[in-house]
Symmetry: C2
Subunit: 210 residues, 2 copies
DNA sequence: GTATGTATCCATCAAATGATTGAATCGTAA
DNA sequence: TTACGATTCAATCATTTGATGGATACATAC
């Protein structure tokens, strides 16, 4: 059995997929309550009823978007893991930051949506996204901070969260932060990488040595 | 001339102040679009028209809330600055993290609102909050990373943002992160401090030495 | 050609929501 | 007491918004 989401991913030109793409961007920018189905429909260039025909309701579409971006990010981290496998911790972090940052700057709606889910309540429903925890555990293992994905110490989870959030923050907050440092986009991206490395690499390498 | 906000802060029992307090919490939890004037009015225990009588429109109230929390946070950072003045950088960071974290955990709506403003767009208006930049420059000076508030290097701004955001993230994302590490509130707060120190102190102390 | 299922749009509904109006209440000064 | 300003609420309005129904177009199968 294929879910609507899988069907949409199979054919990127299908109406289902086009709606999903626009929904990612709009939900990412304005959040759940800030987005109207009409905004998405207008962006796609279709009528609202067509949107409802393909995705049911606003809530359903939103949940599909969340699952979608989580799959994308997970896949990206698997790719990164392959590149850094076996390298010393300092280099793993360095390369991970470069690759992940580039990817997220190319798909900022991923960072936007993840952060908005962390920090904003959805008036209706308080469903806890069970993807993020195992996901964070994956990164912990990939960073070499835990043997296996199961039984990652809470302290390690917190450290991984700190790193991931730090990245998402600079991506998602670009509109706010970039004017503050008066940089063009390219310069800003470079500064983000530099700052992330400045902050995070010493913590893990120094404490590893002791 | 006194602004409505100043009037409200003068008498904390006034209806103006009571509305502002509830608005802080509700806007902080649900964001601008996720909040309805009825939600705030219900929380205060009054009619919506009373709310409009005192604060004009939803947008006006929201802007007052934003200014209000910025003033609070600024004042708190001034207090912290007094405590850590003259101490070596490592200790300054250590104590700043303790004090700031405790304060924000007691007033989580501050972190919520700041982050929601960073990461979420407000459908109507794209006004840039000019308080945050000078504010960040203040912290840079307080941390001893810049001589004066004017002319703080962009790289330093980025580092300060990284630290501040890291704190806000753990406060504002408590509902999401705490279940992940299966900790009660007290333990979570301790873990947050520990993680923040683990991440941030080495970066600044190590690079200072070289 | 007809039938069937898919996809799309136009018109419309019902509820939610920001906002206003006018009446009632209360305190206070003349 | 009376008059007046400040405050509060019930009722209501206009718009937005999520959602649906029905008509139309189009393809494919029979």
């Amino acid at each position: 059995m294929t879910t609507p989401l899988e069907k949409a991913r199979k054919d990127p030109d299908s109406m289902k997929a086009r709606i999903l793409d626009c929904a990612r961007r709009i939900f990412g920018q304005y959040g759940f309550h800030g987005t109207t189905t009409r905004m998405i429909a207008r962006e796609v260039g279709i009528d609202i009823s067509t949107l409802h025909y393909h995705w049911g309701g606003k809530k359903d579409l939103y949940e599909s978007v969340v699952v979608d971006i989580n799959k994308d990010l997970r896949q990206k981290l698997i790719d990164v893991e392959k590149v850094i496998h076996g390298l010393p911790l300092g280099e793993r972090l360095d390369i991970s930051i470069d690759l992940t940052t580039d990817y997220l700057f190319a798909h900022p709606e991923i960072s936007n949506l993840i952060l908005l889910r962390y920090f904003g309540k959805t008036r209706s429903d308080g469903n806890f996204d069970s993807l993020i925890p195992e996901f964070t555990a994956d990164i912990a293992r990939s960073m070499g901070l835990a043997r296996d994905r199961k039984n990652v110490p809470p302290e390690t989870m917190m450290k991984v969260l700190a790193v991931m959030n730090s990245i998402h923050n600079f991506i998602s907050g670009e509109n706010f932060f970039r004017p503050m440092v008066k940089a063009d986009r390219e310069t800003y991206i470079a500064m983000v990488k530099q700052t992330l490395k400045f902050i995070h690499i010493p913590a893990f390498t120094q404490n590893e040595a002791t």
